[in-house]
Subunit: 639 residues, 2 copies
């Protein structure tokens, strides 16, 4: 349950930032974890937070993809389809592996061996998904003007709202950074250690990852990082910080989309509840990837190409007392150069007719609210929106809105919506739709019937389900706090673990079986049935030949005591090579591409895997060789 | 339940970023809100996130404080001490007010009236606290080198990890910002509106706020912003984004400190679970303010002066296989130039004695772990730390640690601690302390008895209470996820509401009484008893004379149907003037000062107000004039 954020330069090109993520059914849940799933967010490249540095040797180059795609002929599979993960959701679990090279003996000024090593980011869960078809009224994602046609291997200063504090051309740690470290480490620390830190760079780092928007199941690595041990270790916290929240928010957004169904328009409105503007930027970006339609965060639109949307504020309404007089109340017809009409006067005339229809006194609707609506309509006649609940929906907001909407309608403009922000949203929407229908019939303005009704007000999963029920007249749903803070499970327990040093597998045993790691440099594959359905994911040692479509494979479901066989019709490698020896290998996908992948991925899941509560288990299994390695290291106390 | 983060330039000087915050007992709680309280974080000035801009007219100047401090003679008070807030915790509630000036009629290209206006950030809750005495082993907060002696009125590029993306000397919105807005607003929007936006600046903004580290009770404004209506409205989301999370995290940290008691050392270790590195920076800063002792976030140490602390990683241990040979295993004695000793050989000799004592075979402890410990000890002989649970605490980690610690002890070095990260932490700590004692006696190394035992592993409030119980041998407690994400209540419902326009009060009524606002420009005072105890906070209209110590005052507890009288011994104004007409009025306090204020504030609370569950109610009341205004506006449909 996490999703990746943005930061430190070496992470920029890592693409597994947002990964669709699910817990396992039938397993202990972390605190307040009712089954949140995880959905991929955006690749780190679109991030941009603190201390973005530019390692001198990270240069862009083309290189082949990490592994070829194996799509073969259909076959049958054997089960058992029970879950077998060794970790509970929300807590770290076994990561994976990767390559390495140098021997582990040197006179390095660091206490670490100078070997090459591999570490992996992984998590515990089981994926779910939902598909959100493109909706016709959605503003298409804007081109991300800050991103070059060919992505750079490191963040550009102008790409992020938070440019590098003191970019160092030398390496990930600037001289002031090292100076600070020297001030907090014991005073007898060997001075050469700090020289060593100053000289670090990421030229030896290789990174494989799931593409952003992928579905991730428990135990499958999201990222694999190989390189000099010390550098790989320095990347741990930045990578986790980037990956976790982005995937969490994307997953949370996908859950909310699942609940809302494909028809409702979902707006993310949570910037004020984020952990600062950068957290908000990540939330807006990855909730869009997870299935939301737009965000109220203008910066996310400007920097990430997220469609932006909003309504108007109560303070706009209350800023008018009713004594204001517009300097120019005249409005020209929508169709073109016709005679201009005094909108304010026209509204007053319509108000009388509306009040008669609604059985209200003409003085009941709040004058200040109406003057505010008129001011808004004069400024944005083609985008008139009514916020109805500042004083009273039935006695003020609704009649005032109708008077202005009908006056605008007379000039050929159509109001674009109303919003409710308090009270029983579902019931009020039904009542308002009813009024729209009778007014539409009464005054022969058929478009009024279908003016979208937007609602907001601390909407959570339960309220969303209510608002999305059959027959609901709600069209647009704004969610803030409950998408941004993921209150049902506010963190995703991604972990980053050392799995191989100098080519030798490493394993942490600990007192707690849930915190044991999966040793060795590994590859991951998704096995599919002949109809494209997902069968299971298999982890194996990197040196093993990939599974072949049509061939029976014996695997050990994680945590199970018995092996089983499976015969996939298709085999898909999961991890892609993105950075090799510090060089970006292929262009990073755009936000639109990652969003499309996320929605496509979710569509491939069976309905039972998409259940919000107690979803069916999706299996991740180990190859026989990997299982044997785990058994050997466990028996030998990790040797 | 929120806390303030960092951002946008105009917010830099606003000091209410972190405010100690409590919900009200006996009121409905938001989802998963078991009574989180709120503690002030740091002033916004230490922020530094996205889109920090430098308004050209924000200049520093000295000006008198907002209100004088009234401390008078003791008196008695009358109650009733029941809570009376109109909003539930976690949701927005009535804010306060402030001044204004210009008339509300103009030909502004914006649909908003061109009046001056006031808005307030407020929240719903009741404060709690605990006092954390300085501990002798705590590294003193480092001077914040990035902050000048006299604070600047706007963020400096080098003060924040995230410098301005495109600082504009012209105003809060840069030309590209306005260009983006033009691209998403309706195409027929009046072009002059965008010229108007480009010309905006913060020179007309005045800001009053609680100092950082203050206790905040429901309904009392944290911030009051006055200035041109459009500018004040543009500040809404940035201000909320800054204030909420910082106060949430500070409050959460104060709760955890309350549970831990004053003796345990609390480390914040949650960077990897934050909403990106900036969220992590805020979390580290404000958890320190709330009562933590240090953070593992080096950047927080470097940029904010938060004390940093940490142990070592499992990956460091697993990176050693045991075949490594140190290039130089010789270590000189701590005392000075004595003969150097082969530490590795010495450790092997000690291991035999330790294993005999513990009844273990000498080959049971993991060799790689021991080699890792030796490498660490050679690099940091004065700061040797043991991470015990990589393979097995009892059979490997503990004997290996003891062998190295005893070998170091022979040279005059004392190990500084051990850490446990899995299993039953409390029980293991007891067992380890027992072993320390017997080994200390056996080998006559008395210092070993009191080597600090640190624990970590998803520690939440319940587990913390267990670890802090009487007789616990745990000394240091690392908390990550559960301090950073505040899982018991992941957001604090601060709201920012328009309360006055052109000198006229404004009030939002809505369908939901909880969302009604408190109208008018207001002042806030804390009334104290003769012993310095807190009696109640009173809100009144800005034009009313302040309450006088020793004089009886009739007030209306919020939401109550009857008034009551109170006779304070002391009266303290709560809101201070920080920015007047765009100019900073007084230097912002340092982090250390704000932390001291927070701890002092918490100490002033009665024990019943500090209860973690169902704390006693603290009363916030309205003056008779303010209550009359509320009644008048409510009866008149907000007129």
């Amino acid at each position: 349950m996490t999703s990746e954020e943005q930061t430190h330069a070496p992470l920029k090109p890592s693409p597994a930032a947002g990964t669709l993520w699910c817990p396992e059914a039938g397993r202990p849940r972390p605190l307040q974890s009712p089954g949140l799933r995880r959905v991929s967010g955006r690749h780190v490249g679109r991030g941009g937070v603190a201390r973005v540095r530019r390692p001198s040797r990270w240069r862009r180059s083309r290189s082949p993809r990490g592994a070829r795609r194996g799509r073969c002929s259909p076959t049958s599979t054997t089960s058992p389809w029970r879950w077998a993960t060794g970790a509970r959701a929300g807590r770290g679990t076994p990561p994976t592996s990767s390559s390495s090279s140098a021997p582990a003996r040197s006179a390095a000024p660091s206490p670490w061996p100078r070997a090459c090593a591999t570490a992996c980011v992984s998590c515990a869960a089981s994926a779910c998904g939902t598909q959100v078809p493109p909706r016709p009224d959605e503003r298409p994602p804007r081109p991300d003007k800050t991103r070059p046609d060919k992505p750079l291997p490191f963040p550009r200063a102008d790409e992020s709202p938070t440019a590098p504090r003191s970019p160092s051309p030398q390496g990930p740690l600037s001289p002031p950074d090292v100076q600070f470290l020297a001030s907090v480490l014991p005073p007898d620390t060997e001075p050469a250690f700090f020289d060593h830190l100053r000289a670090l760079d990421c030229s030896g780092v290789t990174l494989r990852a799931l593409p952003e928007g992928s579905l991730a199941f428990p135990g499958v690595p999201l990222l694999q990082v190989s390189g000099p041990l010390l550098v790989v270790q320095l990347l741990e916290t930045p990578l986790l910080c980037l990956v976790s929240y982005a995937s969490l928010i994307a997953t949370n957004a996908a859950r909310l989309r699942l609940i809302a169904g494909p028809e409702k328009r979902l707006l993310e409105m949570g910037l004020r509840r984020a952990q600062g503007p950068d957290g908000g930027l990540t939330a807006s970006t990855y909730s869009y990837l997870g299935g939301f339609d737009a965000s109220s965060n203008m910066l996310a639109g400007q920097l990430r190409g997220v469609p932006v949307a909003g309504t108007l504020a109560h303070s706009f309404i209350t800023s008018f007392s009713g004594t204001e007089v517009s300097p120019d109340p005249m409005l020209a017809p929508a169709a073109g150069p016709g005679p201009r009409v005094d909108l304010a006067a026209c509204v007053e005339a319509w108000l009388e007719r509306v009040c008669v229809h609604l059985g209200l006194g003409v003085h009941e609707p709040h004058r200040g609210e109406r003057v505010a609506f008129v001011a808004y309509a004069l400024a944005f006649p083609q985008a008139f929106y009514g916020l109805l609940d500042t004083y009273s929906v039935q006695r003020s907001g609704l009649p005032n809105f109708l008077a202005v909407a009908l006056a605008l309608g007379q000039l050929g403009y159509q109001a674009v919506g109303v919003r409710l922000d308090s009270g029983d949203l579902l019931q009020q929407a039904q009542e308002i739709r009813g009024v729209f229908r009778t007014i539409a019939a009464q005054f022969q303005v058929p478009w009024l019937e279908s003016v979208p009704i937007a609602v907001s007000n601390n909407i959570d999963e339960e309220e969303l389900a209510r608002l999305a029920q059959e027959g609901s007249e709600v069209n647009v749903i704004g969610i803030g706090t409950n998408v941004v803070t993921c209150p049902r499970q506010p963190s995703l327990g991604c972990v980053y673990k050392l799995v191989s040093v100098g080519g030798q597998p490493r394993m942490k045993l600990t007192e707690d079986p849930e915190k044991q790691t999966l040793p060795g440099s590994k590859a991951a594959f998704r096995l599919l049935g002949s109809d494209g359905s997902l069968l299971l994911d298999v982890l194996q040692l990197a040196e093993e030949p990939p599974p072949q479509a049509g061939q029976e494979l014996r695997v050990w479901p994680r945590g199970a005591r018995e092996s089983c066989t499976v015969r996939p019709a298709h085999v898909e490698p999961l991890l892609r090579l993105w950075v090799q020896q510090g060089q970006l290998c292929e262009p990073l996908p755009s936000l639109a591409e990652s969003r499309a992948l996320a929605q496509l991925s979710l569509r491939c899941l069976s309905p039972a895997h998409r259940w919000l509560e107690q979803p069916a288990l999706y299996q991740v299994a180990l190859s026989e060789k990997l299982q044997a390695l785990v058994d050997r290291l466990t028996a030998g106390g990790a040797l």
